[in-house]
């Protein structure tokens, strides 16, 4: 057992647990986006950053950082809140998140985060890159303008389905998720059409064809349900 401080309160945790897991056990909510139970943590969206006071105030992703003996973790303060808000604004301005025209409106984790963090407007300039959609797959579509690059589809596809269809291509602001070596999703030779990527996607970027505005509901928890039923190696 490990003892650490969580928002000034001493708590006990198992070795190997992440800060996020311990916080959830103790009823402390930390916002997350790229994290999804059942997948390996990626630590890339930076919404779950928490401050470790005895590491010189270093900010670490709660989802990807294991607890250590004597750690002094703060999950919310002015500095962290400001950073989370700016991260969220950056995600909103990076592509196009006009909810009114989105299949996932009302069922969107990004939208929920804006509500949770009180982000009612953005202070950064919108980029609106106008990316092409890929509707070549028979059952599903991808709208890169709604993608937040959390990589949940990539991990669901490789870690759970084992198909390794999705990956990242390009870098910096040009980065995109792409099937196989790029090219239309419908031409993919590896895609099993299992739909786990769609269920794992937190926004309206990946969707089922045929659903209308605000009609796309998702069950990201299937990822955990599938992995939990598997024998542990």
């Amino acid at each position: 057992m490990i003892t650490l401080k969580l928002n000034g309160r001493e708590v006990r945790a198992q070795e190997g647990q992440t800060i996020l897991e311990v916080a959830r056990e103790h009823g402390v909510r930390i916002p997350t986006l790229c994290y999804l139970e059942g997948l390996s943590p990626r630590g890339s969206c930076r919404l779950c950053l928490v401050e470790v006071r005895n590491w010189g105030g270093k900010l670490v992703p709660a989802c990807a950082t294991q607890v250590e003996e004597g750690m002094d973790v703060v999950t919310h303060n002015e500095r962290i809140n400001r950073i989370r808000r700016l991260v969220l604004e950056m995600l909103f301005v990076e592509r196009n998140h006009i909810c009114a025209f989105c299949v996932s409106s009302g069922h969107c984790e990004l939208q929920d985060l804006a509500v949770e963090l009180g982000m009612d407007h953005v202070t950064l300039p919108y980029r609106y890159p106008g990316l092409a959609m890929d509707l070549s797959h028979e059952d599903y579509g991808i709208d890169h303008n709604r993608c937040v690059l959390c990589g949940r589809c990539v991990r669901a596809c490789s870690e759970v389905e084992g198909a390794f269809t999705w990956g990242f291509q390009g870098r910096g602001i040009q980065i995109q998720v792409a099937p196989d070596l790029g090219g239309p999703w419908g031409d993919s030779e590896t895609c099993t059409s299992c739909g786990k990527c769609v269920q794992a996607c937190p926004t309206g970027a990946l969707f089922e064809k045929g659903v209308g505005t605000a009609a796309q509901t998702k069950r990201p928890e299937v990822i955990l349900e599938v992995t939990e039923r598997r024998p542990r190696v």
């Binding site: 990626r42 630590g43 890339s44 969206c45 930076r46 950053l49 900010l59 670490v60 992703p61 990807a64 950082t65 294991q66 500095r79 400001r82 950073i83 700016l86 991260v87 950056m90 995600l91 301005v93 990076e94 950064l124 300039p125 980029r127 690059l149 990956g167 990242f168 390009g170 870098r171 910096g172 602001i173 040009q174 980065i175």
Partner: protein, 597 residues
Amino acid sequence: MSRIEVLLCAGTACLSSGAREVKAALLEALAEEGLTGEVRIVETGCMGPCELGPIMLVYPEGIYYIRVKPADVREIVREHFLKGRPVRRLLWAGELPESKEIPFFSRQLKVVLANCGRIDPEDIEEYIAVGGYEALSRVLTEMSPEDVIEEIKRSGLRGRGGAGFPTGLKWELVRMAEGSPKYIICNADEGDPGAFMDRAILEGDPHAVLEGMAIAAYAVGAQHGYIYVRAEYPLAVQRLETAISQARRYGLLGEGILETDFSFDVEIRVGAGAFVCGEETALIASIEGRRGEPRPRPPYPARSGPFGKPTLINNVETFANVRHIVVRGADWFSSIGTEKSKGTKVFALAGQVKNTGLVEVPMGITLRELVYDIGGGAPNGKKIKAVQIGGPSGGCLPESLFHLPVDYEALTEHGAIMGSGGIIVLDESACMVNVAKFFLEFTSEESCGKCTPCRVGTKIMLGILERIARGEGTEEDLVRLEELGHMIRDASLCGLGQTAPNPVLSSLRYFRDEFLAHIRDKRCPAGVCPDLIHYVVVPELCRACDRCRQACPTGAAQGTPGNPPYRIELSACINCGACFDACPFGAIERRPGRKER
């Protein structure tokens, strides 16, 4: 036995300026004069003053010839080699000094670079002849791994890749880490624009790096090493391959090194040149064959490197220091430098100084000595106003801080970093908004795109800087730049993003007035930002030669040949500067301030 020894610099810079052609001409001239057996030619690694290449150093006198062209070679052979009269016009500064009397060399202290420019890097025997592999044999026969770590710790050596983590401590962490096998990685993914310290070491003295790695492997208990070097360094890769196969043949790499039971071998991994792969976790991902993307630390590589195994990862220059510490002792090493920064540091000196190239200086030397004594000051009589130190992760320090020593803490405290060793000297013709923009352009392009602050934040900052450079910025923008800069620094996943705002933040700290001139006066004081300058013809100087009109892509430069003065029609001018460059009489003036349309 040869009577004369010619050391010909075969570093990348001298090869580009024609060292191979000089060598061919030399061989031919020697054959003509029947001197082939009397003169020995050695191709060496980088000698340092790259600006003056191709460079030839002739022994026994120790005479430097600079900017040698193939056409000069016959004269050198006839006058110097046959008659003993050095060719004055090709000498450094037209003088005949010993190298230690040339200020460029006399203020340097060459430890890591001692063999560069002195031995043939493709011949292991030359390396052994100057004491190579002595440290490894001493370590394997006389020292325990703990002794080695203790010696490195006592020396005060810190990582030369930029962050300056204590090397001995890192070795100890890897030694104590549980798990096997353990790996050694040499980070040779040098990527700062204009920096080539590691390349020069790999090209000029590859065995020193291999020896350092082998000693480290013995100390931490590893048997396998990787050298991660970028594909843009083909000569370094080739010389490393040669060095590795020679070392294997001599029993200095492989099974049972020096007839002990210690085994260690090295594999080269050639990277595709993404800047982010210099970050250790991205480098490790790339070695594993995955996309070069960093991951959050902890766990640090000391606990979890390639394939989840404990790994020691050090920079090229760090490894190259190791053998000197073993042979000459920790006390000797720690006698050089400042309280917390020991030994020497190699810098790639670039920008507006007379002597550019590769230099090695003792820690603690001031920036002023580096810029004026070694660099020789500005080449054109202009005033030097700043140094950019540490590349895209570093910052700009103004002339008023040139008393600062080369020291990890002192540089960091003032908003720059030691970095891996890039120094760019800026004179008054440099615009700090433009400099900040240049580095941010670089980092935002090189961002891997994994984490939000680096991917999106650097682009937003760049957009603001571009607006300021166009004269469309507001004072609020400066506050926003600082706010975003601090956020990106705190919240980014890896060192690339965490340091990307440094060039902007440090420029804002020391050169805020230049930003304000762009914003308030719509004026670029240095006359660099194209939207905030204009060109005019000085009537008295114009000779109506018509060259400006011919160079102008938009028809803005107008006039009749032989009928001065010409004029520039500002409504058509795009401020490209073609006329300015074309005018042989200096009759076109670049003026700060927006043109009145």
